[in-house]
């Protein structure tokens, strides 16, 4: 797959069809891959990679890259194409400037999960079908690939690309995912338990903003939390109220627009399960307004941004169970 992608990139660069290629670049180790812009064949030969660790969703980089002259090629995994569509529908990307190559994906691996099993000191890693062999400074291990899959990949919602100009590899299908199971578990808690659960999680937040900055739905030019004039700027979660507020506002702001791409949970250095907040919103929207998957169709009008007379008016006051 990687070789086919490299050739495609080089071909389109050589023909002048695209000015640049957004892809993934090899790191120091076997897992620390960086999103990168490649502009010539040499760079691609030296650094381009597509493997188990290319989890980063490249669609948000298009906001910046597609503002420049000429066309860019971007490689998108199935889940990334939903983010791409959502960005299109919000007019954040000029479609004409992008050449989307969809790439198939059999799930990405979470290095943190591997480290939790094998410990520190990973120096070599190779995956062979269902197994991953890991060599550390201290020992050798073989683990099941399935056990190392990222949370969002365990609960993958779709292997189907919803946008592309060209597809490499096999096309998949929308999956019957179990992604709401954990949300239900939390719904079944008592209000106090739920509060306790979220306080415990959010109290670890260091307000590093990684979740916000990586999020394709968080594409405001200037976030209210960064705007000195907003009165809400806060760089540190000084009180528990502020810790909660940032996340509540962010979750509401991406509600109906979050595609459940999973980037926020992937990047959180504190391991906060932000996907659970977003999935709660998605689940509620599905229940109240009918099934809706953000990013599935770039022409669709989001349930929270369009009005119909039949819109429900849920209320925590009147709808008390």
């Amino acid at each position: 797959m990687q070789e086919v992608m490299k050739n495609k990139a080089k071909e389109l660069l050589a023909s002048g069809e695209v000015r640049a290629v957004i892809g993934w670049k090899k790191g120091e180790f076997c897992y620390d891959i960086t999103p990168a812009v490649f502009t010539n064949a040499e760079e691609i030969d030296n650094g381009f990679i597509y493997d188990d660790f290319c989890g980063a969703n490249l669609s948000k980089y298009l906001i910046k890259e597609a503002h420049k002259d000429g066309k860019v090629l971007v490689f998108l995994k199935p889940c990334d194409t939903y983010s791409f569509n959502q960005l299109l529908s919000e007019h954040r990307i000029n479609r004409e400037k992008v050449y989307v190559v969809g790439v198939s994906c059999d799930g990405k691996v979470d290095i943190e999960k591997i480290k939790r099993t094998v410990g520190d000191g990973i120096i070599a890693l190779s995956s062979d079908g269902d197994k991953i062999s890991v060599e550390t400074l201290y020992d050798k291990y073989e683990i099941n690939r399935a056990d190392a899959l990222a949370e969002r990949c365990v609960n993958c919602k779709s292997k189907k690309h919803v946008a592309y100009d060209e597809l490499l590899g096999d096309e998949g299908e929308v999956l019957d995912s179990k992604r709401f199971d954990e949300v239900e578990m939390i719904e079944n808690m008592t209000a106090d338990e739920r509060f306790e659960f979220w306080r415990n999680e959010l109290s670890r937040c260091i307000r590093c903003n990684a979740c916000r900055n990586v999020c394709p739905a968080c594409s405001c030019e200037k976030c209210i939390f960064d705007n000195d004039n907003s009165g809400y700027v806060n760089k540190a979660p000084v009180t528990s109220f502020e810790e909660n507020m940032f996340h509540i506002i962010r979750a509401f702001h991406v509600a109906g627009r979050c595609t459940d791409c999973g980037e926020c949970s992937r990047v959180c250095p504190q391991g906060i399960p932000l996907h659970l907040l977003n999935r709660k919103f998605i689940k509620d929207i599905n229940t109240l307004y009918g099934d809706y998957q953000a990013g599935e169709d770039p022409e669709a009008r989001g349930p929270l941004t369009s009005y119909t007379e039949k819109d429900p008016e849920p209320s925590v006051v009147t709808d008390k169970e």
């Binding site: 120091e28 960086t34 000191g121 990973i122 260091i206 590093c208 900055n213 990586v214 760089k235 000084v238």
Partner: protein
Amino acid sequence: MVKISFEKLNSLFEKISEKYDLFVPTKKNDGQSYFEKWEQGKTVSDDLNTVRSAKDFFFPQHEDIVSFKLDGKNIEITDERREVRPFVMFGVRACDVRSFSILDKVFLSEPVDTFYKAKREKGIVISLACQKPSETCFCTTFGIDPTEPEGDIRAWKGNDCYYLEGVTEKGNALLSELSLEECDRTEVDAQIENTKKILDRLPLGKLDTDSFGGDKLKELFDSEKWASLSESCLGCGTCTFVCPTCQCYDIKDFETGHGVKRYRCWDSCMYSDFTKMAHGNPRLTQLERFRQRFMHKLVYFPANNSGEFGCVGCGRCLNKCPISMNIVKVMKTLKGEN
């Protein structure tokens, strides 16, 4: 050198807790370790690094400085500084211990930061030698010896006990209060020898630092490579918030409705309003902000501190950056190795 068996560790911690707040690294349910106040039942995690560095104890993410209250035509000013109880940190790794002396150079030089100083004076650091360094560890690049960490007291974890050795006056004073069993260094020496062999095999253990330092300012600042290095940086600030040596802060006023609370909190050079002044921001693009972080560690800090680098090689930014861009990649790329 003295020792304390694992079975007796709890009673030792209990004893320390009588006079001090004791903090130890403990594992949380997210699988990572954090310094937490010790209480019965809390165990010391063997993880190398806590997610948040140990600098939090001296330079917390936020602290209140002063508050103003309006009362008619009068303004009442209150010093909000909180009295710190003497505290002990157990299990700080060599990299984090070194970060304290880097922070000291900033906060304890004139004009002295009295908030920092008060905490520094009240804190006793018990460091813990590393036995199983990670592939992301490169403290040795900066001349730090993780087998013999600095600190007020240094500790090694043996097979059935911790070995402790006083380093500073403060540390020796605490040790003498604790009256522990004297012992020899045999197991410790063997451990050190063993760990040193592993350190030799660390992939980043001996990075070449010759191309960096205060005298390289112009060529590094002007390098064309910053563009590609910073290209995919999200400007999130994770690297600065987990870094034990990042030291920038902002002073903010919070309007409470009937007054103002002035506090300081960590800032990040990766942020768009970093060092924003009346005329605007001196670093308009992410390239400039990104460059600031690494130039600070590799050039500006050594320029002002007789060559000492502002990084301790703890590896946190390697582990936590969402796009896996970090100081090692920057160093290697600037040198033309990548």
